[in-house]
Amino acid sequence: MSEAQKQVWKGAIPLQIHLHESEVTTLPPPPPALVLAPRIGYLPLLISLLKPQFSTTLPPGVDTIWFEYKGLPLKWYIPTGVLFDLLCVEPERPWNLTVHFRGYPSIVLLPCEGEDSVKWSFINSLKEAAYVINGNSKNVMNMSQTDQVELWGSVLNGNFETYRRVASKLKLGTFEDEYMENVSSVLVKSSQSTGDTDVTGQLKTGRIPVRLYLWTVNEEFDDFEDAPQIDNWDKVSYINRPVEIYKEDGKYFSLNDAVKRILPEFFLENSFVTDGDANINQSGEEGESSSDPGSCCNTLEIAEIKLVRIQGIEPILDIPFSWVVNNLMNPEYFLHMCVCLKVSKANAVQ
């Protein structure tokens, strides 16, 4: 738990950033910049590292930094780690990006006026998350100026301790104790943990802010190396929908359940509880053998989950969703998930 959060906060992606050749005015061109970008950070914040290296070769004009990956401008308000998970199906390390200081694509990207724009984007996301969780943004709005500055500074500097101290004032982390105790109880006291779970579930029923980046493909592919490239943002669906955890006696709410609840249009059988259970079992069976006769049952489903990636890892779909939320959430209290679905042609025709 604590370890998991530390790993998330310390996560960094190695970037090899090249200056676009249209903006090179010296010979030879400058060497690319190799930097470690925090996963929970944002790309425009890297300007303090890139500007000194590339400023000597830039043509005269006003600097407005933006990034592209294989021709695709990168949205700066999405955390760096999420962009990496989404666009690099097969992770490449270091991640090769191209940086621009001129010719900002205003049609595709929202304007970014430096650190302040990133900061306010973060604060707005925080308010949104607070509303999802508590039904209002009162706690965030009542935050003092110094707390805001401190919170944002901790995010900038990757200071987890300061963040946790300030964030505790927001009273947004109530799910943590339940599932932590639940896990430890499993290891120590099986019977007692069951009792605790029931008690906790009864006391707290909350909604979880989730941002799902859905990538749907039509073709069948065995390996992600052969997956088609995302060459424009129209192929990615951005779903911002809260998830409510429903406690059933004797069963926990898993990641798989959460995904299907978020995407009901892709999973019609979800309304039938019994069928759901059968689906899970069958999915596991499919994993074991590809020639299972259960494929006849698959024809009933519309879509198939190919990939679920959170914070750079692909957790097992049976993991409890509450644990995932408590440990893999971003600083603005949103859980960012990258999902790849395979949609059948029959379903498409339908």
Binding site: E3, A4, Q7, V8, K10, G11, A12, I13, P14, L34, V35, L36, P52, Q53, P91, R93, P94, V183, V186, L187, S190, S193, T194, G250, K251, Y252, Q311, G312, I313, E314, P315, I316, D318, I319, P320, W323, V324, N327
Partner: protein, 514 residues
């Protein structure tokens, strides 16, 4: 149900463990794998940053130094701009001076070319003069040869002249001996005559001249026009009681003429200067001439030879007279302010009178004891011939006296002056007894000579206008004006026998009037 519960919990815990492992693996793949490389790369960047900071500091220091240097250079620039302005002004002045100098140079070049032209001309002149000089040297050599010859000839002539002088001395000694004998004889006869005169008195005197006495008539016609001398004729006289005329001129000659025929009878030579005055002894034997060569010359009329040369004056001798009664005493006046008395028998000066005013005219009194002298200061003075003392004087003219003439009876003396007046003085009382003047009559020179007629009744005087004026003493008026001369008339003489009248002018022309 319990089994199902356990299996679910196990599944969850396994899933969580799997997730944690996945996180660790991701960490190893991403941060752990690349952090050292990024750190290694960033170190140079950081050091570069520090280096850049150092460079920035250095550049700022350099910039400050550059600012200081710039300010210093600005000050220097201001100074140099001022200097440049001054230099420009100086350059302008130099250019002006240069233009002036070029102008001056042009002028000097023109002058130099002109001087070259002049130099060429002068070189040509020099060549001409050099050739002339060589010719003159040749002539000089010839002249030197001639001079040497002339000198030798002169020496020979001097020797011959000395011989001639010795001969003359011998003749003179003989003449002196003869003269002494004659003087003794004359003294004896003189005594006889003196005795006879003292007895008879006036009658003897009258008888002596009775045969020649004629009443003077006034001349009116120019009978002869004689070209007597080259140059002027300033001195002239008639022999005593005869018609023979004696003239002296600037050509150093004394000529004797027959006034009745107008012919030249003889010429007396030997005078070394212009003849300024003439006189003749009463026996008509010796002619005495005053000369501009400071000497007096005495000729023997019959032989035409010089008997005496009286030397002693230191300037030109302008007046001479000889006693009326004896041939022994001669008096002369010169422009050295002296009047000398000479003894012709002894041949030298016996007395010298020195006076501050030069004497222009002289005349002996009838008794031979007194001298009349007319001076430049206009005074008429009387001197004793023996003692040389001044007896008396009178202011005769306001300007210089030019002429003295004694009447035949010895009672009246005529003076002519440069004030154009002719005065008659009584010899005894020195009172003016008459003044003669005319409108056109002007005295021509300091030695213009006028005269009284033998009958003591007329005065003849020449004028600067070439006319001869004749006055009547009794009437005091002009009775005739004779016009023939074309230049100033310097001398008039009336013959002792009453006619003719002779006048001489500046051109050497002598007119004989009857």
């Amino acid at each position: 149900m319990a089994k199902a519960g356990k299996s679910q919990e196990e599944i969850a815990s396994e899933a969580i463990k799997h997730t944690l492992r996945a996180l660790r693996k991701r960490h190893l793949l991403e941060e752990a794998a690349h952090a050292p490389a990024v750190l290694a790369l960033s170190r140079p960047i950081v050091s570069q940053g520090s280096e850049w900071k150092e460079k920035e500091e250095n550049l700022q220091v350099e910039l400050q130094q550059c600012y200081k240097a710039q300010s210093r250079l600005s000050e220097q620039l201001v100074v140099e701009v001022a200097e440049s302005r001054a230099s420009k002004a100086l350059l302008q002045e130099k250019e002006n001076a240069l233009a002036d100098l070029q102008k001056e140079l042009t002028e000097l070049r023109d002058e130099c070319s002109q001087l070259k032209v002049d130099l060429e001309e002068k070189i040509k002149s020099l060549e001409v003069i050099v050739s002339e000089n060589s010719e003159l040297k040749a002539q000089l050599e010839q002249m030197t040869i001639k001079a040497n010859k002339a000198e030798a000839e002169n020496k020979m002539l001097i020797d011959r002249w000395m011989l001639e002088k010795m001969k003359d001395a011998e003749r003179l000694n003989e003449a002196n001996a003869l003269y002494e004998e004659m003087v003794e004889k004359l003294r004896a006869s003189g005594l006889e005559q003196l005795a006879r005169r003292q007895v008879d008195g006036i009658v003897r005197q009258s008888e002596e001249g009775a045969e020649f006495f004629l009443e003077s008539n006034i001349p009116s016609i120019c009978k002869y026009r004689l070209r007597a001398h080259e140059g002027g004729c300033a001195s002239m006289l008639f022999e005593y009681n005869s018609s023979k005329l004696i003239t002296g001129g600037q050509d150093r000659l004394v000529k004797m003429w027959d006034a009745n025929t107008g012919s030249l009878s003889s010429t007396l030579q030997g005078c070394l200067g212009s003849v300024l005055d003439l006189t003749i002894t009463h026996d008509n034997r010796s002619v005495i001439a005053a000369s501009s060569s400071n000497n007096l010359y005495v000729w023997d009329v019959n032989s035409g030879r010089v008997r005496h040369t009286l030397t002693g004056h230191t300037d030109k001798v302008c007046a001479v007279d000889v006693s009326k009664i004896s041939s022994r005493h001669v008096v002369s006046a010169a422009y050295d302010r002296t009047i000398k008395v000479w003894d012709l028998v002894k041949g030298y000066c016996t007395n010298t009178i020195i006076f501050h005013s030069n004497c222009n005219a002289l005349s002996f009194s009838m008794d031979g004891q007194t001298i009349f002298s007319g001076h430049v200061d206009g005074n008429l003075r009387l001197w004793d011939i023996q003692s040389g003392k001044l007896l008396s004087e009178v202011a005769a003219h306001s300007l210089a006296v030019t002429s003295l003439s004694l009447s035949r009876n010895g009672n009246v003396v005529l003076t002519s002056g440069r004030d154009n007046l002719h005065n008659l003085f009584d010899v005894r009382s020195l009172e003016v007894c008459g003044t003669l003047k005319a409108m056109g009559n002007r005295v021509a020179s300091n030695w213009s000579r006028s005269c009284i007629s033998p009958d003591d009744n007329h005065v003849a005087a020449g004028s600067a206008d070439g006319s001869v004026y004749i006055w009547s003493i009794s009437k005091g008026d002009i009775v005739s004006t004779l016009k023939e001369h074309t230049s100033s008339v310097l001398c008039c003489r009336w013959s002792g026998i009453g006619k003719p009248l002779a006048s001489a002018d500046k051109n050497g022309i002598v007119c004989v009037w009857t």
